[in-house]
Every structure is written in structure tokens, then in C-alpha cells.
């Protein structure tokens, strides 16, 4: 498909296109670059006019200090565990449900699918209050399960996998497996998963990024000084009662951002390919 398109209407991009895209790239990257700059100066220098534009010599000092100040190491491990579990479970259950919605006929299918789509619009604020009560009742404040359990499934994921499997999975393949006497689990394992793999990878990345960066509920369920994820620890650094050292705050921001940026640098091509292949749009 792609080959045909590039052969058709598309013309070579002019210099103006490169200038504009270059500007957009600059705007996208500058705050991240400046994060690094600020994390490599002293706290006093960062808030001195004019702010520094080039990296300074204090990056290592700041890293050591921030790492010890709020236990960024623990936060990093916590965030990895939470985002990994949430991504794995969302992908698994979304693929199962998405497959059923896309390819299996059953009573009430369209109604249930409409329900899934409708629930994508519910603000998370609506569930925070009862969830908070549940975790206080169970004594789960500052425990990781309080942020993992509510995020194990996502309506968006079901819709996403359903849209993909609708087009990617030939129904004959499923029926052939059935005729061979394969029961459901074997059909899932040997037919659905192999076909769904590219979309599962994209969904997994999207959910992982989302869970890694999730803020509202973790900020309520966990505390910066207890057992935080990176975002919660970061909020603690940024709004602490002690005098704020902005260089340390931004060093924390750097620590929380770099792992995902590394993943993007390595896998960005595939993620972008997944999104632009149309899997995300409605």
C-alpha cells in the first residue's frame, strides 16, 4: 500500500517543509535539553537571570544528592514494577476481550461493546473517592497494589485490540483451528496471539508509558516519603516544605524521564509505525 502511495500524488518536500519541521523538532526537544542543563548546575545558578543555556559541571553531584534525598532508586524500581504489571495485564485481557468482540458471535455483543466505548469517557476522578476508601479500609495506603489493581484493565485497550483484530485476523483461520478440535485456549495461543502480536506490542508500549507517567491516583494512594512511584517522588521534590533546590528538582525530573526516552530512542521507530499504521484512530 505504502509503495503505491509514494508513487502517486506525493511530491518531494521543499525547503520550507524542512525548516518548519526543524522548528517543531527544536520546540519538542528543547525543554528536555534544558532539563539536562538545569540538572547540571547549582540550585542558585538555575534561578539566576539569565538562565544557563549550556550544561554545567554539577550533574554528578546533583544525581548523587537527588538519588539519596528521596530514594529515587526505590521509586524507579516501584515504577518499573507497576508499569510492567499494568501493561502486561492490560494487553492480555484486552486481547482476549478484543478477539471476542471482533470475531466471536454472541448475544449482547454490540451492547457490551458500546458500553466499553462509552466508559472511555469517564473521568478517573469519579472513581478516586471510593478507591481511596477501599485502600484505607484494607490498609493499602503506600502499597503498590493500590495503584496496580485499579489499572489492570482499560476500555481503550479492548477497543484498540478489537479494531486491529477485525482487520488482521481472517475468520477462516479461527474456524480451521476449531474444526481441528482446538479448544479456546489453544486457539488463543496458536492463532490469535501470533496475529495480534504487532498490535499487542504497540498497546503494551502505550499503556506502559501511560502507567509510568500516571499521576492523579498514585499521588493520592502513595506518599512521597513512603513508597512512591517516580511521579509521586517528583511531586514531593517539587512541592516539598524544605527550601526547594530547583536543580535537584530537575535532576529528579531527569531521572524519571531518561528511562522512557532511552526506550523511545531504541524502539521509537516501531511505536511510531504502530501508531501511524492506523491502529490508534477510531
Amino acid at each position: 500500500m505504502k509503495i503505491k502511495q509514494t508513487a502517486g500524488r506525493q511530491h518531494h518536500a521543499g525547503p520550507l517543509t524542512y525548516v518548519l519541521l526543524g522548528l517543531a523538532a527544536l520546540v519538542s526537544l528543547f525543554p528536555l535539553y534544558w532539563n539536562l542543563v538545569a540538572a547540571s548546575h547549582t540550585g542558585e545558578r538555575v534561578v539566576e537571570a539569565p538562565a544557563p543555556l549550556l550544561p554545567g559541571p554539577h550533574l554528578l553531584d546533583n544525581l548523587t544528592f537527588a538519588w539519596n534525598q528521596v530514594d529515587m532508586g526505590e521509586a524507579l524500581v516501584n515504577t518499573t514494577v507497576v508499569a510492567g504489571l499494568v501493561a502486561a495485564s492490560t494487553v492480555l485481557f484486552s486481547t482476549l476481550a478484543g478477539f471476542a468482540f471482533a470475531k466471536l458471535p454472541f448475544r449482547g455483543r454490540n451492547v457490551l461493546l458500546a458500553l466499553v466505548v462509552a466508559t472511555m469517557t469517564i473521568p478517573p476522578q469519579l472513581s478516586v473517592i471510593p478507591l481511596y476508601r477501599i485502600i484505607t479500609d484494607l490498609g493499602w495506603v503506600d502499597q503498590l497494589q493500590s495503584v496496580v489493581l485499579p489499572s489492570l484493565v482499560a476500555a481503550f485497550g479492548v477497543f484498540f485490540m478489537r479494531q486491529y483484530l477485525l482487520e488482521a485476523l481472517p475468520v477462516e483461520l479461527v474456524e480451521a483451528a476449531r474444526v481441528d478440535g482446538a479448544h479456546s485456549l489453544r486457539v488463543i495461543w496458536h492463532v490469535v496471539f501470533p496475529v495480534a502480536r504487532p498490535a499487542m506490542a504497540v498497546l503494551g508500549m502505550l499503556v506502559f508509558v501511560q502507567a509510568w507517567n500516571d499521576f492523579f491516583w498514585p499521588f493520592i494512594a502513595l506518599t512521597p516519603d513512603g513508597n512512591p512511584t517516580l511521579q509521586v517522588a517528583l511531586a514531593g521534590l517539587g512541592s516539598g516544605n524544605h527550601t526547594i533546590n530547583q536543580a535537584i528538582v530537575l535532576t529528579g525530573a531527569l531521572i524519571s524521564t531518561v528511562p522512557l526516552l532511552l526506550v523511545f530512542a531504541l524502539l521509537g521507530k516501531h511505536i511510531v509505525g504502530g501508531i501511524t499504521s492506523g491502529a490508534v484512530k477510531s
Partner: protein, 329 residues
Amino acid sequence: MASDTTTTTGAPAAPPPPPAPAGAPRSAWRGRRHRWGVRWGPYAHIAPFFVLFAAFGIFPLLYTGWASLHRVELTAPTDMEWVGLRNYARLLDDEFFWNALRNTVTIGLLSTVPQLLMALGIAHLLHGRLRGSTFFRVVALTPYATSVAAATLVFVLLFGRDFGLVNWVLGLLGAGPVDWQNGRWTSQFAVSTIVIWRWTGYNALIYLAALQAIPDELYEAAALDGASRWQQFRHVTVPSLRPTILFTCVVSTIGATQLFGEPLLFNGSAGATGGSDHQFQTLGLYLYEQGWVNLHLGRASAIAWAMLLILLLAGAAVALVRAWRRRTR
């Protein structure tokens, strides 16, 4: 590709389960088990999702509605005193609620409209033969990988009044230093900038996907009819993108309604007030202040349901306008 979609979604609401496939099962017992599986198997596939979803999605939603009819304090969440609709009546008289609602709408417009327009422009630029197109696409997506907390903490400093780089650049251009934190419009502009920065590239890629799906024949036919590039954009590109534009508008609107982390952290150590004069306090932030600072969980629940009702009203309004426009056309 497309034909499969139409046949599947166009199927009747609940087709009866098809007879067991023709490959005759080896025994009656197996046949029965097989039919049972065809009939109930689908529910087993969706059950894990719906069970977890009911527990952590539907139940809390309903419970929040129930709590909004009570007086409940955060310190004793089991002591619930029935107050009927008083929490809602109170909201109507609450100037901070209306302030937060106004701010949510203006910040929502300030962040969503430029964001989607720029995303459309960038998608247009990315669509075409381009050297380094993968590089530009990955770069466009990097802000999305940055968390709300990290991005906001960086932007707070960039927007600093006395030392921030934004004012430094303005100074080079001869414009006076702007107090980004304390002005109503300036602070809302700054908060919106964070949202725009994080989401423009992501939306651009979604638009790009839709652009790539438009068949060339449409453009060729338009060109044969003598349509200019602008007319092609107006009459081919925009109509083809309409479903995608609607999708991104809906998603952005929902996101704008829930805005929380940016205004919270833009306020530095001053907490959930959304600025000294509440000038950028959003509904999400006000809900948090009522529930977790002032400890009034009942009132916070009422704000949460008010948010849902506002979204539903907005959705109904859009649907009405669309129906009306279709009729008058």
C-alpha cells in the same frame, strides 16, 4: 481491508450462535462440549475484563454518586450522613466551583484548539516524501513520553518571571517581562503551553495515519476536475479526516476536563489552590482541594459527578448540533 470492517460491524445485534462447524466431532460428548464452548466461550473471553472493570470502574462510579448525597469527611469515611442534593445545591452557590469551571473551559480551549490545528499542520508536513521522516516522527512523539510532572517542573522554570528563558527571549525582542504565574490569562496560557507541548506530536501522528489512508484516486479525480491544492485540501482532505478529527476532539476534551497535574505543580509549593487568586484552578484541582485538603469527600464526590454531567451535556449538545445541521442541509 475495509470490506471486512463493514461486514462485521454491520452484522445484526445478536446473531444466534452458528451451528457447530462441519468437521464432525468424534463423539457425542465432544460435540456437546464443543457446542457449549461456541455458545459460552465468548463470555469467558470478555469476563476477566468485565469483572475487573465492574470492580474498579463501575462500582466506584456508582459509589461516588451515592457518596455525593451524603456528608462524609475524609478522616472518617464510614460515617455517612444523608443530605440529599445539598452538596449539589451548594455547588451552584459556590463561586470557586464556577471559577474552576470557567478556568477548565478556557484552559481547555486555549490548549485544545491550537494543539489540534498545529497537529494537523505537522501531519501535513510529515505526509510526503521526506528525508529523515522517521527521525521527525520519533522526535514528535518524545514529549508524549515525558511525564506531566517532569514537563511541568521544567516549564515552571522556563516561565519564571525574573530568570526564565521565555522572558529572556521576550526581552531580546524588546517585550517586557511577563508575570506568567500571577496573571489570569498569562498563567492559563502557560499551563496550556505544557498541555500543547505534550500532546501535539501524538495527535499529529494520529492525523498522519488518517492522511495515509486516503486513496490517491480521490486526489487524482479532484485534480482532473481542475481543483487547486487548497480546494483539494478543503474538499478531499478535510472530509476524509472528519472522523479522526472528531475522535481527537473528543479525546482532547475529555483530557481537558480532567486536567490536574499541570495546574497543581505549576503552583510550586503553594498547593492545590491553582494560584494565589485561584486564577488557574481547574475542576480536577478543586475536587482534590475539597476532598483531600478540606477533607469534604461528599462535596468532592458531587464535583466529580458534576464533571461527568458536564461532559454528557457537552456530548449531547454536539450530537444535537450535528443532527440539526444534517437536517438543514
